[in-house]
Amino acid sequence: MERTRRATVSALVALVTVSMAAGLSAQTDDEMEKTLPFLGGWDSDVSSPDGQDRGNCGGHLGDYGEDLVNCSIPASRLPLNSRAQAWLAYRDQLQSTTQADCAQIGFPAILSEPFFISGRPGRLLMEHPSNPWHISRTVWMNGTGPQPLPGELFQHGISRGHFDGDDLVIVSDHFTFDPDGMDDHLRMATSVRKKITERYSLIDDEHLRLIITLEDPTFLTRPYTWAFVFAKTGDAGPRQRWVNCDAESARREQQFAYPGDKYPDGRQ
């Protein structure tokens, strides 16, 4: 009787173990199948045909009245609130953390750049090379990964992903305040209330569309949505050859060359 009970329990344990393993395997296979078309390198269609101006800065002007150029975010219809307008009026080029202090460019500005996705069960690694930085982030899939507490903040936030049908959707929040967080060329900040939703949809085997929605009630009157199209570049790239930034040299670049003198006592 006792022997029979032990055998039954052992069989049940074995059955449950096999079932769990099969379930995990099926989940991983399904996850891999969905993820595979997105893996590898992607290059954006964003270019600057006249040498600099992507035409995205929407007529915004710099400290000495120069046209701001080379924005990453289409700025012409950005729903900036009065606080954001005040921020733009206050900011100056020499304060740019990304351009004068070698701070890494943030999201969403980096999302116009080429990127590379590699996958593993429960997570994606997204690499965003952009001179002189190479930003890597983990996208925690389907509820995996750390769950930060309210107030636990990171420059690039925390990114969590899932599939909505065949679309890869990534939602990022828990960002720190970032002086160049909306766009480093517009010099527009983002607050800790920033939330970014990225929706990646395959157009065909070689192209995908990225639809970005930015929310930040501190600076925007409503969520703002825009899109980019990317072309597949394969497994080779994009990659960054040498990742470093010399802050002293970067600051000299601004101090020597920038024509604006908005805060004469603060040129350093």
Partner: protein, 135 residues
Amino acid sequence: MKQHFLTASIVVLAGLAFPATAHHSFNVFFDMSRTIEIEGVVTSFRLVNPHAEMLVDVPDAEGNPVTWRITARTGPAEARREGWVPEDFVGQQVTVEGNPTRREGGTAMSAGVVTFMDDGRVVCLGGCPGGPEIR
């Protein structure tokens, strides 16, 4: 100071399209439609990101050295691939041709063409034919 404003004509930018990764807008800092030339002695050449940086002492009207900062339009990895070695530049008398800063009285330019005075060797620091990849 020997400073020739060679031309105020529009520099042909065709074929010089920046990669999408440029996050320091040259056009904001430098007047890309003008070209100037300076002559002086290279005191420093650093192959760094975001752009390789050359310092050149150019004598002013009284003969006092004025430091000009030359921003190469490329990064250190591309510079190394071009075979640039800082020691080959430092101490050399050169002319540098490039786009001047928009800052009034500023002593900076984006390069440009460097010509060594001793042997006539010419090096493109980016943005000119035969130069390295623009960053």
